[in-house]
Point group: C2
Chain length 225, copies 2
DNA sequence: GTTTGTTTCAAACGACCGTTTGAAAACTAA
DNA sequence: TTAGTTTTCAAACGGTCGTTTGAAACAAAC
């Protein structure tokens, strides 16, 4: 055992650079050569510390997902009377909030922004080797929130419940990934940097959507499998 | 001018193969060699017909986005009394519906499924060179729907309106891309192949979210730029 | 048949990819 | 200092990438 800072330093530099590049170019679009150059680290360090590109991606995710999911759980547990909006907020706020931890110096390359874009990106890209990993990371959280949401509405878990949680994840991921798009299209009306407002918007939208009456089941047409 | 079918055939074979591979591996993850092998076409044909990989990607998108956006507009125009749900449906149904054009033979590799996954994938990946292209393709549609939605609620266009349209796009894109995830996590409760049900779910969710009371504006914290 | 223009094809180009290697360097513990 | 371990580094490996090239195959016009 060696209490060395060299290794930890390069590990962190690699993780930070990887987060930035995954946010911008995705997994397939990120090369270890650009990455290590940016991190001022030798190319072989990635394989030495993380075993390869896939291991690096997992480590990047692990470093962020854990704390966020723990905070989600904590917020959920802390709710005394959990109405829909509160549960939705417990679900969407931790990841969105992590986007702007640095209110004093909020620029586009702040760690929070990078982390957020990386998160949104990976959530939708889902390289094959990450599917299992992501599933284990999110399964229990998803279950608990589906439970809490159905209970808050005094309903039974159903396909509608799962669909709606899925929609919320999609809205969040797309927002994290493409915040600048909405700003451009709305010609500045929307300001993605105002995280408070963004969280309020998403919570209001998602809570109302979640509380909506479930669509009546059609006489189903084709049902495969 | 030569009225030849050779050229048109290889063009279409390339486009079909590209659609399938973009759906599965995204832009950066798709190689022209695998692509041309799958299309039974010479490697150089891509550069000959489309000028390169980027030109091919644009052509793949152009072939699908045009019809879908035209149908969105047509449906919007056809609404006599456009309430929120109807407008939302006019927006989300054409792309989702295009996922299952072949009810007689609906398997996972149907053109609709492939197209849909490609669409969802590109919408969130947004390779840099496509950003301008996508913006022009969607700007007018987005404007018209924001108009229609605000009118249906007798409101003024606001940041909230744009945010919510953005959320809907995100929910849709994420669903197109990760339909299998929700099926797995819900342990079969959700069946992404039942497009009718899926459209109803998304419309109910999105319409309710859109009609919700706008969140009251906080005393804003940081407002950058 | 010859000519002209279009489309296909095999081969190669240079560049970049992720990974491996073996030695040098840095550090710890004795 | 010495021995042993951990970490860095330059170099190279085998492959795949997108693109280019020049000749062959093809269709139509003369």
């Amino acid at each position: 055992m060696v209490s060395d800072t060299r290794a930890a330093d390069t590990r962190d530099q690699i993780l930070d650079a990887a987060e930035a590049m995954l946010a911008e170019h995705g997994y397939a679009g990120t090369s270890l050569r650009q990455l290590t150059a940016r991190a001022n680290v030798n190319l072989a360090a990635v394989n030495y510390h993380f075993g390869g590109k896939e291991g690096l991606a997992k480590a990047v995710l692990e470093r962020r997902i854990g704390p966020i999911n723990r905070e989600r759980m904590a917020r959920l547990d802390a709710l005394e009377r959990p109405d829909v909006a509160a549960v939705v907020r417990a679900f969407v706020e931790p990841p969105l909030r992590a986007a702007a931890p640095d209110t004093a110096n909020p620029d586009d390359d702040s760690p929070g922004h990078r982390m957020c874009r990386m998160f949104g990106r990976i959530l939708v890209e889902q390289p094959p080797f990450l599917r299992a990993f992501l599933a284990t990371q999110f399964r229990t959280v998803a279950r608990r929130f589906v439970e809490a949401l159905t209970k808050s509405l005094r309903r039974q878990p159903s396909a509608t419940t799962w669909w709606r949680l899925h929609f919320i994840v999609g809205a969040m991921a797309h927002t994290l990934q493409n915040a600048s798009t909405v700003e451009r299209m709305s010609e500045g009306l929307c300001n993605p940097s105002d995280v408070d407002a963004l969280v309020d918007e998403l919570v209001a939208f998602a809570a109302a959507g979640f509380a909506a009456k479930a669509p009546r089941r059609r006489r189903s047409g084709v049902t495969r499998r």
